[in-house]
Amino acid sequence: MPRKCGGCDKNAILKRPKTGDALCKECFFWAFEEEIHHTIESAKLFSPGETVAIGASGGKDSTVLAHTMKILNERHGYGLNLILLSVDEGITGYRDDSLETVKRNQQQYDLPLTIVSYEELYGWTMDAIVKQIGLKNNCTFCGVFRRQALDRGAMKLGANKIVTGHNADDIAETVIMNVLRGDIARLQRCTAITTGTEGYLPRCKPFKYTYEKEIVMYAYFKKLDYFSTECIYSPNAYRGFARAYIKDLEKIRPSSIIDIIHSGESLSVKKDVRMPTQTVCTRCNFISSNDVCKACVMLEGLNKGRPRLGIGKLHKERRKWEEELEEQSKILSNGDGTTPLCCGGGKCGADGGGECGTDEGGECGTDSGGCKN
């Protein structure tokens, strides 16, 4: 006998991974949307009149996010000005195709779209970067650059906030990753629903409690138009282990994903643990844990044909470069200015790889890039 929907008398079509309840299509849509509304309301994510940039990659998460934000904004009278914001990393055969999807979404949802590209911001496409540095560590560049790019794009549009499509699975995975790495600072902040309030644009995750499986089901039943190819550049094996572990856990106990988020929310750090101190990048004025932020270091490395500067341990290369910088700053103070990196005006969100506490679920892939997958 078919199972009945828990919300009405129709036959159920799906079993919810989060609670095990059975629902029909209509009740599922309703519950899915209202739960996101509940998340938004209970965390007081937005205020009326705000402009909110939706990080849009064309992937399932950000497509469903754009769709849901639009519906909820109308249904509940949030009074938000929604815009789509995409980052073009310059990856042929991947991003160009997914951007086509975003452009269709723009039509479908009738939302304005802005695309910022690595090429215009940094003078480098990912294709060009990979050509220079190969397939190792390229995601490091991409991740660092993307979070800056999204900030810059959003600021250009006058947005007050950025929302990203990070879902419950992404967050659970990040909690596990941070436990595995012993990275206490990130472990503490990775379950925050809004990050990066100091110094630059707050980022919110309305899907924080939404299961990836439900997002896929929603997109499937709503027949939403999304792009589902993985980035052509190599995946990170280590993150893959964490992801596989989460998936196995989910098989044993479906609530595991949200249980892990509860764990992340409720753990507390000893008072005497020293947290990394934050300072301001001397190059671009953005928050950084070093004198020069990661993005500036990486860009400098690329431009000087020494791409390994930004990655790996503080090896000789970095020390040598710091000496050079000192020389340079002497020249600078003599009035012999050299071209500053990035925008130089404090607008570029180039934090050193997200140490400013803003890195989200997928650290790389923090957003519109959708490469958290």
Binding site: H76, M177, I258, K270
Partner: protein, 470 residues
């Protein structure tokens, strides 16, 4: 999926072990004798230097923390397994004439017989016991035996039991006694120790088997065992209990705790000392040694141990969250040798929030982590359940926020009890339903007490000055 970006780029990315087989015939790193084992990441040790290393790690942990006073009585929780056998041997060595500096505490051994939950015959159970008793006797220390069935009769602890002082005809006070222990006599071979009554064993089995998932069942057994150990120590007027978790075990437990919603308890469950039970402290003196160190130590120095299966023995690699996690951690450790120490490093930095004021879980005694704000995983789940189980006549926009109501009424006993449990214990017991009434008396006593306190507090709330505003 992309490369993780961390504080300093990818520096925090664990380093993969280059899989080269070591050259044979390596020398000990301490002296020039041929090495016979590899410990930690790449150090080769000979037998003698390895012994010094293990003893040092144990003594340093005890010495550094200065938690155990000179001449103090301590309980050593002895399962008979490899880790506790190694711990017992280290203590024996420390008390012997051979020790460089003698250990000053006075050990008493306790074995908790958990075989009641297994499907084995009384004879097999006795045989298991006898093996453990032999090992305990061989140490010459005073030794006791108790069994997990005792959790059914023990009462809530002194500090939180108001019910205890009520007339004995109170339903919760009637069948309460102190948990019993049986002393192991020097001439005993174990066969003279009484087995619990069949009906008690059946009750325990039902209690555990009511939980549909093996993960939950294992978790419940763990909590019950800890509470029994603490209550037993209290009865013997001893305030320290030593347990023998290795660093490997800790790492698995940390991750498994996080996966089971027990993130807030990681520092209690895996720290050097666990103070959640008030007067009785749990201490983990071998947590700086890994499971290989301890197993090798046992092998090289002929330390005997007993293998007693658990409910999860011979089940698949993913039969429980714990087993899956162990497989995951051991697999990672093989490729990334810093895995266990990284995980442990995480836990060293974790602490407890507001331990003093927070009410405690009636089962595991950790601070309740369920009184969360409106924007939390717990409230999100409650909202989800409400959304999927209500029959709305029409779909109208919900208010959002913290208006999740819980239907009281018939289910109030269950709800009350669930309210007195932490997130992790709720998870284990979530499909218990009516059977929550079967939970051991001590849990129900604590719940009654907590509810009473809450009621009183509510009654007088108008007259209380807000602690937060003081």
């Amino acid at each position: 999926m992309c490369e993780a970006i961390t504080e300093d780029g990818i520096e925090n990315q664990p380093v993969k072990l280059a899989k080269t087989v070591r050259e044979t015939g390596q020398k000990c790193v301490k002296c020039d004798n041929p090495g016979i084992l590899i410990t930690r990441i790449d150090d080769s040790f000979c037998k003698d230097c390895f012994q010094i290393y293990v003893i040092h790690k144990f003594r340093a942990a005890i010495g550094k923390t200065k938690l155990i006073r000179c001449g103090e009585q301590v309980i050593v929780a002895f399962s008979g397994g490899a880790n506790s056998a190694a711990l017992l041997h280290l203590i024996e060595h420390g008390k012997s004439e051979r020790a460089h500096r003698k250990l000053r505490f006075v050990p008493t051994l306790i074995h908790v017989d958990e075989c009641g939950i297994l499907d084995i015959t009384p004879d097999e159970r006795k045989a298991n016991r006898c093996q453990v008793i032999d090992l305990m006797k061989a140490s010459g220390f005073p030794a006791y035996l108790t069994c997990l069935e005792q959790v059914l009769v023990m009462g809530g602890d002194e500090t939180s039991s108001s019910v205890k002082h009520q007339p004995t005809d109170h339903p919760l006070a009637r069948d309460v006694t102190e948990p019993q222990v049986w002393m192991v006599k020097p001439d005993s071979d174990g066969t003279d120790m009484p087995l619990p009554s069949t009906s008690q064993t059946e009750r325990l089995k039902t209690l555990v088997n009511k939980i549909a998932s093996l993960t939950g069942a294992q978790d419940l057994v763990r909590q019950l065992r800890n509470q029994l150990l603490v209550a037993t120590a209290r009865n013997l007027c001893i305030t320290k209990v030593l347990t023998a978790e290795s660093s490997t075990r800790m790492a698995v437990e940390i991750l498994a705790d996080v996966a089971q919603g027990r993130g807030s308890q990681v520092s209690l469950n895996t720290g050097f000392s666990d103070t959640r039970n008030g007067d009785v402290m749990i201490i983990r003196p071998v947590r700086d040694l890994n499971s290989k160190d301890l197993a090798m130590f046992n092998k090289l120095f002929n330390v005997k141990s007993v293998f007693i299966p658990t409910k999860a023995s011979k089940t698949s690699l993913s039969s429980t969250i714990e087993k899956l996690t162990e497989t995951f951690v051991m697999g990672l450790q093989a490729d990334f040798p810093s895995t266990v120490s990284n995980i442990k490093r995480t836990s060293e930095k974790l602490g407890l929030a507001n331990t003093e004021t927070c009410p405690k879980c009636c089962l595991c005694m950790s601070p309740l982590d369920t009184r969360t704000g409106p924007s939390s995983a717990l409230k999100a789940i409650e909202f989800s359940q409400k959304m999927s189980r209500s029959h709305p006549t029409e779909k109208k926009p919900t208010g959002g926020g913290d208006n999740c109501c819980r239907d009281k009424g018939d289910n109030s006993f269950q709800n009350n009890l669930m309210d007195c449990l932490c997130y992790g214990c709720r998870l284990s017991l979530h499909n218990y339903g009516d059977d929550l009434r079967r939970l051991p008396t001590f849990v129900r006593q604590r719940a009654v007490h907590m509810t009473q306190l809450d009621d009183i507090k509510q009654h007088i709330s108008d007259f209380l000055l807000d602690e937060d505003n003081r």
